[in-house]
Symmetry: C2
Subunit: 499 residues, 2 copies
């Protein structure tokens, strides 16, 4: 038997758990942290039960209880006569290509995002819902305040006038056009329309190219906000098989175009939500060509592309557009601040229609914030900020994947996107993510149940975890707890079947 590696010296860890947490749990959590943090590596021996009881000043049986919990969590394994060892994390698989039904659906389960937001109550212990991005990673308050103050001084006349630039102030449209160069797009600032948000941009595009009852093809799973939007516009969705790594399946899309009256394709070819998939460059090019041939417009969401800062893959499908068939929509809510939520769209052949819809429906955007945003985007540090943000997100996502590998039941599959703050999990097929959600919610832990991300009956055993919020021991424990509850549910299931 090989000599086990020496465990590192362990000092008592300051308690991070709520005061009423049992002692053995506190100890288990402290040890779990050392494992997740990499202090205790896979294969290493843990301190003996006796050592731990001394170090923490607890009884042997309490220390033993702690080790048993770690064992249940799948973090450690006992080897007879040798002690407890850190388990090698299960090799965690990625989900495969999704397989939605091959027909279109009227979106009927209204207000996914509403239901979701309602369940994400203030006072939650930990939210992986994605509604409250952590502020420290984005631009700081002071910087934003200064930009707004400057804009309201420099453009003081605008405070007493209608925004004459219906499509948005030239300064912001130019700043957006400059930013789009990083996505490989040479856009004419005069063709860009500023909107209240990226969702509004997509809404205007859908309005320009569809009538109620029309079919829109989407990635599957997709962003719940898009399903809600499509529902509110009375459209039908056709969900297209999508791979967590490579995105939209082009053969599947082609089949759909051959057999169904698809009026538009709405997709995020770069860092789709929730999968985080990125279509390879040649697939993006093929997608644009395929849709141009069919004269079916592509509404491309590039809201996450900048999270691949310094990476060639952030290039937009729009960069291959030669005849205005791609309507590209973005915003800076994910990279700069959600506090200035303004979005933008370059709608190709439909740019006049989109501009006109914006105006006719009174979707005015405020000059002061347009000018402040232009100012912020033009600051030289923005690209460096993106790289820092990307690095930070990658770190956090990797930590989260490691925790999931440790704590979630065997067989759990997890996406492995190249950037972003979102992971997509596939649990055992008969495990209800909604039931898991309900149980977690009673403990103040929330996330996105898979069925929110489809208009079909798929993904009931899936969930989206978003890590844009705070990321402290509390959240790490909460993430582990979701895994534990999932394990419990799996253990209950056989009983249910016998009953």
């Amino acid at each position: 038997m090989p000599e086990p590696s020496q465990p590192p010296a362990l000092r008592p860890v300051p308690p991070v758990s709520p005061p009423d947490t049992p002692l053995y749990q506190q100890i288990a959590q402290a040890l779990a942290q050392l494992i997740h943090g990499g202090t205790l590596k896979a294969g290493q021996r843990l301190p003996s039960v006796r050592e731990t009881s001394v170090a923490h000043g607890v009884s042997i049986s309490t220390a033993l209880q702690a080790y048993r919990q770690l064992e249940e969590q799948g973090l450690v394994q006992a080897r007879p006569k040798a002690g407890y060892f850190v388990r090698r994390p299960q090799r965690i698989a990625q989900p495969g290509l999704s397989a939605p039904p091959q027909r279109s659906f009227l979106v009927e389960r209204q207000t996914r995002s509403e239901g979701f937001a309602m369940l994400h109550q203030p006072g939650d212990r930990a939210s992986f819902g994605g509604f409250a991005p952590e502020q420290s990673t984005l631009f700081d308050e002071e910087r934003l305040r200064v930009a707004i103050g400057r804009a309201s001084r420099v453009h003081r006349h605008s405070l007493t006038e209608y925004n004459k630039a219906d499509a948005g102030r030239p300064a912001l449209r130019q700043a957006v056009a400059r930013r789009a160069l990083h996505l490989g797009c040479a856009l004419d600032a005069a063709h860009i329309v500023i909107t209240a948000s990226c969702t509004q941009a997509v809404s205007l595009c859908l309005r320009a190219v569809t009538q109620p009852g029309d079919v829109v093809a989407l990635e599957s799973p997709t962003f719940f906000g898009y399903l809600d939007l499509i529902e509110s516009l009375g459209l039908r969705v056709l969900e297209i098989p999508t791979h967590p790594a490579t995105g939209l399946s082009l053969p599947a899309l082609e089949l759909a175009l051959d057999t169904q009256p698809v009026k538009a394709v709405l997709a995020a070819p770069t860092l789709s939500n929730p999968l985080g998939s990125v279509m390879p460059m040649n697939a993006k090019q093929k997608l644009v060509k395929l849709l141009a041939q069919r004269r079916v417009p592509l509404i491309e969401d590039v809201v996450f592309n900048d999270l691949l800062a310094g990476d060639e893959r952030r290039k937009a499908a729009k960069s291959f557009d030669t005849d205005g068939n791609v309507m590209v929509c973005g915003s800076f809510a994910k990279t700069l601040t959600p506090g200035i939520r303004l979005g933008w769209v370059e709608a190709g052949r439909w740019r006049d229609s989109v501009a006109s819809h914006k105006r006719l429906q009174g979707a005015a955007t405020p000059v002061v914030l347009e000018e402040a945003l232009a100012d912020l985007l033009n600051q030289g540090s923005y690209e460096a900020h993106l790289r820092r943000l990307t690095t930070y997100m990658n770190q956090r996502r990797n930590e989260a994947r490691r925790l999931i590998a440790h704590h979630f039941p065997p067989g759990t599959k997890v996406s492995n996107p190249p950037s972003g703050d979102t992971l997509w999990l596939e649990l055992a097929p008969d495990l209800s993510a909604m039931e898991l959600f309900r149980r977690c919610a009673t403990e103040g832990i929330t996330f996105g149940p898979g069925e929110f991300f489809t208009a079909t009956d798929r993904y009931r055993h899936c969930l989206r975890l978003n890590f844009s919020g705070p990321w402290t021991t509390l959240e790490m424990q909460a993430l582990a707890r979701i895994g534990e509850i999932a394990r419990q549910m799996l253990q209950e299931n056989p009983e249910k079947k016998r009953a």
Copy 2:
């Protein structure tokens, strides 16, 4: 013959006309100003031709030419051997009840407001189009700048967060509810939804209660922005006879409800646009009752109500709503500043649907501006400001009516609204307001041709004049010039008929 009253002492008037204006015209304009300003009153004798030639240092024939022009303009009349006298202005009639066709129309002449705005080019000499309200009458830049600065300091955290209050910040919703008390409405702040503009509020209401193809009843004539909005939503309009003084004809509306599938009524019972009509209080009450009985929602636009500050008539129809059948929409663009264009809506029974549409379509409103607007509305001086603004508008409108009475062809009818900055003119039936518009536009003078205010074939001899812009000699001359061109067109007409 009665002794004519003595003319006042006349000094040469400083030239206000462009430098290349012929001398006789300059003199005529100077005298016209004295007439419009009330220095020379109806029935008074003008200085003799000789006196004028001396006062202005011009030849007798130049002075005579000036008098002839004034005569042509209908401002003065020559009495043999007695000289020139100021004419009593023609008693100007108000237009009667409008008579639109009794069937519904698909709105098809897209982009009225776009066409209108395109014709209102920068560099226009004088615009009565209403796109550029004069700033001095509203809140000043500094006051707005300070409010925005304060909001971005006090609510600095909001700069880095999504606006969690989807329906708008509580402070603004409370301020709106307080303001609504002046309209006789006790609204619950929690039921108010903040929007990007009043037009967006109306758009959300229409979306909540109609499907494409549905019929919406409107005042006739109506605001062109509403026709454009309705067109973009694929709705049909049914225009209801409307009286310039008393607004919507209730018998006509009742007949329409009996015979047509009206899904909603969109109206401004207080200071409708363009007529400026105000429904009497009991008519407002009857309107609400009638629509409640039929379960047809009323979308009430109260954007101008505050221009009847200190006047009981500003009470909204909503004040009679007992069962949530009235959706009331407003903004402060007309009374505070168009620079913060935010609007609001209390949508009665449909409030959840309206709030949800706002959110699902990504029509986010910015916290900083919401807080700044709340601050401005809560300032004690706002009600006093409204009274000043109303007084100022009344003065200006009366001056404009007097000029129109002098300069427009006999038979011209003009609305006489109790407040606001808009007049509606009805010319001779065979006079094309669009042709008048084209001719005026070549001289840099613009206004709203009547056909922009209907989806039917009516009002081709009508126009809307808006006096919210600057109001100097230049504009007074431009207004007179519209009348002159109309006269010329009338003189041409018989020739055309002979040809």
